[in-house]
């Protein structure tokens, strides 16, 4: 039975090859063809130790780098799901804005999404590895110039999703609406434009955010969000300061 099947398989193969125009008389499939033996790589492949030895010095250097302390958090930077404003979100958005303003001082406010922040930071030393875990993605900072109307759309998105990490913009969430929107402390002017700091993932439509799809202009800074975070923490440390972000009521529920 088995033999028969192998034979019929080979015949079929030969027939198929004829169909595509190869010379049937000259071409034949070797008998060995039927030995479709299963290669059990899971039980037989062991890591080649020469490769592990080769990358081990890099791995050690990398782990040392990841363990390198760049600054300190004075408090736990948390992101509870049920509050419109979080310490981690404020830290993140403040850092984005501060770093982007070095490139463009006109940057007015910043916005990220809480889903993009992958871990919380504990009080104490902040390592490079912590910031890699917080932002493992290769997202890069983008500045979008938005109309007042687009900012309103974005604020509505922030309201309907229960608040998102922002800096230098404030609002009250009334049901699914954003009210009392202020940028840099000033009421939102629908007749002017504002420069928003965000990152490529969101600017390109990620997380279903609203208001970002029709910018007046767009500038990709070519700076990784993670690098910006590292810089921000490092500069605080160099100035002798811990990261001591506070909740300041930038997004509140209007009950």
């Amino acid at each position: 039975m088995k033999y028969y099947k192998i034979r019929s398989y080979l015949t079929l193969l030969a027939a198929t090859i004829c169909l595509i125009g190869a010379s049937c008389s000259k071409y034949f499939v070797p008998r060995g063809q039927a030995a479709y033996t299963r290669l059990q790589i899971d039980s037989t492949i062991i890591a080649d130790s020469s490769y592990v030895a080769f990358y081990m010095p890099y791995k050690q250097q990398l782990e040392a780098e990841m363990d390198r302390v760049v600054g300190r958090a004075a408090i736990d930077l948390t992101k509870p799901n049920d509050t419109p404003e979080t310490l981690l979100g404020n830290f993140f958005a403040d850092a984005l804005l501060a770093e982007a303003r070095k490139q463009d001082p006109e940057a007015a406010f910043s916005f990220g999404t809480k889903g993009g922040l992958r871990i919380e930071l504990q009080q104490g030393p902040i390592t490079i590895g912590n910031l890699f875990e917080l932002m493992p993605f290769e997202n890069e900072i983008v500045i979008l110039e938005l109309t007042g109307e687009s900012v309103q759309d974005l604020a509505r998105f922030i309201a309907t999703t229960g608040g998102q990490p922002v800096s230098s913009i404030s609002m009250e969430i009334s049901g699914s609406k954003a009210t009392n929107i202020r940028i840099g402390g000033e009421p939102l002017d629908p007749n002017r434009t504002y420069k928003l700091v965000t990152y490529d993932y969101l600017a390109n439509g990620g997380d279903n955010s609203r208001g970002l799809d029709n910018p007046v202009s767009r500038m990709n800074l070519g700076i990784k969000v993670r690098e910006a975070l590292i810089d921000y923490v490092r500069e605080h440390a160099q100035a002798g300061k811990d990261i001591n972000t506070q909740l300041d009521g930038r997004i509140t529920h209007n009950k």
Binding site: I20, P30, Y36, I41, D42, S43, V52, F54, Y55
Partner: protein, 321 residues
Amino acid sequence: MEESLIINRRNFLKQAGVFAAVSAMGGIPSMALANDEHVSLTILHTNDVHSRIEPFPMDGSHNQGLGGVARRATLVERIRSEQRNVLLLDAGDMVQGTPYFNLFGGKVELELMSKMGYDAGTFGNHEFDNGLEGLAAMLPYANFPFLTANYDFSDTIINGQTRDYIIFKKQGLRIGVFGLGIRLAGLVDPTRCRGVRYLDPIIVANEIAGRLKNDHKCSLVICLSHLGYQYRDNKVSDRVLAANTRFIDLIIGGHTHTFMPEPELIRNLNGRTTVINQVGFAGINLGRLDYEFERKSGKASLVTAGRYEISVRERSLIKHG
């Protein structure tokens, strides 16, 4: 065994083509018939390995324990010990994805690939992530050629450091390999690829594949492509490329991280078959395609296609053994 043959037959009938996919069973034919009538060729390939040097960490994520360059090396070496003619190819995005790239700029990835004996690779969009300067800095660590036929680097600092194609000779068999990359605009920051001219991949492919097949008498023409498997719109993809070109036998794809269950056969402009294969990402799989050539006719037959998952189970072996 019986069941696997039945499945093979069904695949055969369904595809009405010249290959049988046996990835589900992981079957390997012993094709190493080293006589004058036949030459066998084994193509091994990866794509979008993304700096995954160590296996994915055991953190409960979907891919935990998978991949890893040291286990891939063992597998490749074993296949090389079994097969006389082996080519090991990569379809781009070798870098970016773990801190190894952030810290060492691609050096570790390319050194390890060189050590493993990669025969050729092409550029993915992420190869440009540190700009042309970053690319120029990492290229010296590769001892294999980068094939980039549709990028014109004439006005850049990496001019002359890549090639359009290469021809491998194995027991008198000529295998032409060329590379195609994706349009960088919109994917790569313009400052990181300034001066790179993008050429239409289909025009370039037809020209080069034709030359490889007709002028250089290659029995097999392989395209290393970072165009992506397919798109919803009419953007050029491997499927579009296959259908609109004449002389490509095999497209080894990348970019879309597609875990193809088996190679796909597309009818090309010559009415012949162009095979597309892509093996996901991160070095979770190694693609293997075994070809058999009959010397007189020079006709190729793809006799099997396998996809080997480098799995977590070896990890326990390493630990305990």
